[in-house]
């Protein structure tokens, strides 16, 4: 029943259908009038009467006119409906033409307003999306810098070589600001000229080994005033510099900043690319600056560790002095000997066939042997004497107040002690011996170098004469 009602109801039908129904219904009136006229005037006296036809036509015309008016209304509604569907499907660019100021015109206007509002909301959303993307990019950039900094710091902490730290810094710097190249110049130790030691990227061969004079037109500001250098497509005044830069290094844009060490510019870190139209942002400068600071720490660290090495005077394995210390000490003792008209002796001891021991019994055994010989030497000299390990299997002794004869006696005692100590070892290769060369100031010279050379000659001779002996 309900179903029947529904199928009969016009609610579910389209406006076009309803319009047809309305038209049919409207036709009923002229049709009835026509029937009436025919039955009253024609049927009683058959014959065509003009006024009957005219009335009939007039009533049909009125019905058609009514239909036209209704159709006009309905078609506009239908038009709005189809436009609304298109808009709903996503075409927000559509705008309805408001023809009349009636209710349908209001409807069209409202729909236009609605579309406009939706469109502006979507535009706003787009702006938010772009901004979010920018923020996201920013976060990514910061994260990248942060992870790079961590990487560089951990390299520094691990005591990696400076070259490695520089390489990583350069590689990471290149990832900034669409760079195709990253380069690093260092001031030469003895002059004010800057030399490119590391470069990474497409034009690296043009950079590597290149030199910059302090008065270089492009880089002089960085070198003398410690300012950041920005060459990009912004400044017209920079055109000359840009041409110069392109001619020399094949890049059109660059951002370079000074690396400070001990208060002066010791290096220049830069990035660059070949884009025709490009601008460096404030961000790029900030990020490169962070890299520069890290680089400065690495350089300072390297400088300090080198200084520390210079300050180190002991050999780590044996606890004896090291080569540089003993050489300085020998020089001092010679000067003292000259002042006080005294002699001073120098001895070089070398373990015979030590490489065989290292090969046959491994580094651990070899190190133990070195320690043992170091002990035997220290045990054989006085408090004023100085013993050093000068090379893997070589020892040196400075014997103040001792002439060559006395030094040879002391050295020979050591030779005998070593021979005796290792004679108890199993296997011929483990029975270590030492050979020695002795020199003396003033007999063999008045400088440390002369004494070392003379002792080395004697040592060589001792080796060639069959080892396990002291000559001087």
């Amino acid at each position: 029943m309900t179903k029947n009602n529904q199928s009969l109801s016009l609610e579910s039908k389209g406006l076009r259908y309803r319009l047809k129904i309305a038209f049919y219904l409207m036709l009923v009136l002229p049709f009835l009038a026509y029937i009436y006229l025919v039955s009253v005037f024609i049927l009683p006296n058959v014959g065509l009467r003009l006024e009957v036809v005219a009335i009939a036509l007039f009533s049909i015309f009125i019905a058609l006119a009514g239909f036209y008016v209704v159709r006009g209304v309905v078609s506009r509604i239908l038009n709005i409906s189809s436009e609304a569907k298109v808009i709903a499907a996503g075409d927000l660019g559509r705008k309805l033409e408001v023809k009349c100021k009636d209710e349908i015109g209001d409807l069209e206007g409202s729909l236009n307003q609605l579309t406009q509002r939706i469109r502006s909301n979507i535009d706003e959303l787009k702006i938010y999306k772009d901004r979010t993307n920018e923020i996201d990019l920013e976060i990514q950039k910061r994260l990248f810098v942060f992870s790079t900094l961590l990487q560089i710091s951990s390299l520094i902490l691990q005591g990696a070589k400076l070259e490695e730290v520089l390489k990583v810094t350069i590689v990471k710097s290149k990832l900034l600001a669409k760079s195709t190249i990253a380069y690093l110049f260092f001031r030469k130790e003895t002059s004010d000229i800057f030399l490119c030691k590391v470069a990474e990227g497409i034009n690296s061969e043009q950079f590597l080994g290149a030199q910059i004079q302090p008065q270089d037109p492009v880089f002089s500001g960085v070198i003398s005033e410690g300012q950041a250098l920005i060459i990009d497509s912004k400044g017209i005044l920079q055109e000359g510099l840009r041409t110069e830069l392109y001619g020399k290094f094949g890049i059109k844009n660059t951002l370079a900043m000074p690396v400070f060490s001990r208060g002066s510019v010791s290096g220049i870190l830069g990035i660059g690319n070949t884009e025709d139209s490009f601008l460096y942002k404030k961000d790029d400068i900030e990020l490169l600056d962070i890299f520069i600071k890290q680089l400065a720490i690495a350089l300072e660290n390297d400088l300090l560790s080198h200084r520390l090495e210079k300050l180190e005077i002991k050999d780590r394995l044996t606890g004896l002095y090291n080569e540089s210390f003993i050489r300085n000490r020998l020089g001092e003792e010679i000067r003292r000997a000259i002042t006080y008209q005294r002699p001073c002796a120098f001895v070089l001891l070398n373990i015979d066939d030590f490489s065989k021991v290292e090969t046959n019994f491994g580094p651990a055994y070899a190190q133990e042997a070195l320690k043992r010989i170091a002990y035997l030497i220290r045990d054989s000299v006085t408090e004023i004497d100085r013993v050093a390990r000068t090379a893997n299997n070589e020892f040196a002794i400075v014997l103040p107040e001792r002439n060559k004869r006395q030094a040879k006696v002391t050295s020979d005692e050591i030779r005998k002690k070593v021979e005796l100590s290792f004679s108890k070892e199993d296997g011929a290769d483990k029975k270590l011996t030492v050979s020695g060369g002795v020199s003396e100031n003033p007999l063999d010279g008045v400088t440390a170098e002369e004494l070392v050379n003379r002792a080395r000659d004697a040592l060589r001779q001792a080796k060639s004469l069959g080892k396990n002996r002291i000559l001087g």
Binding site: A337, I338, T339, Y340, Q341, R342, P343, E401, R402, N403, K404, R405, Q406, E440, N441, P442, L443, G445, V446
Partner: protein, 146 residues
């Protein structure tokens, strides 16, 4: 045949009444500050003459005193030892008879210097005492290189 040396030069000079303890102390202080040999410092301070030192050594240890100024040294003999050894130890060989080398020394107590000379010359050394300035003059005269 080495002489046993058990006394410092300063003590010997005090024993012989040439200097007093205060002077020795002053000389030692100066040595502490500026370095140098005690004998030379005392000469510089005017407490002793070079001859006093030479004669003290002669008297105490029996080294013969040789006034080098009057002595002509044979070039060849002088060059038995290199100039740097002569200059450092302040010594100069003045004569050689057979295997015996006569050596003028400002400090004949420097046994190591005598040993070194014996080592390079292969001779027995007979030490004579001379004043530092005489030996320096002789070295400058006979060794042309500095």
């Amino acid at each position: 045949m080495r002489r046993i040396i058990n006394k410092q030069l300063g003590e010997l000079l005090i024993e012989r009444g040439i200097i007093d303890k205060l002077q020795l102390e002053e000389a030692l202080n100066r040595q502490q500050d500026k370095g140098g040999l005690i004998g030379e410092i005392m000469v510089e301070l005017g407490f002793v003459k070079e001859e006093d030192i030479a004669q003290t050594l002669t008297a105490q240890y029996g080294f013969p005193y040789l006034p080098l100024g009057n002595y002509e040294v044979n070039q060849e003999i002088a060059h038995i030892i290199p100039s740097r050894v002569a200059r450092q130890y302040l010594i100069i060989p003045i004569d050689k008879i057979g295997n015996n080398l006569t050596l003028a020394m400002s400090n004949p107590l420097n046994v190591q210097a005598i040993e070194d000379v014996e080592l390079i010359s292969g001779c027995n050394v007979q030490a004579f005492v001379s004043t530092s300035s005489d030996i320096k003059l002789a070295i400058d005269k006979y060794y042309k290189d500095k």
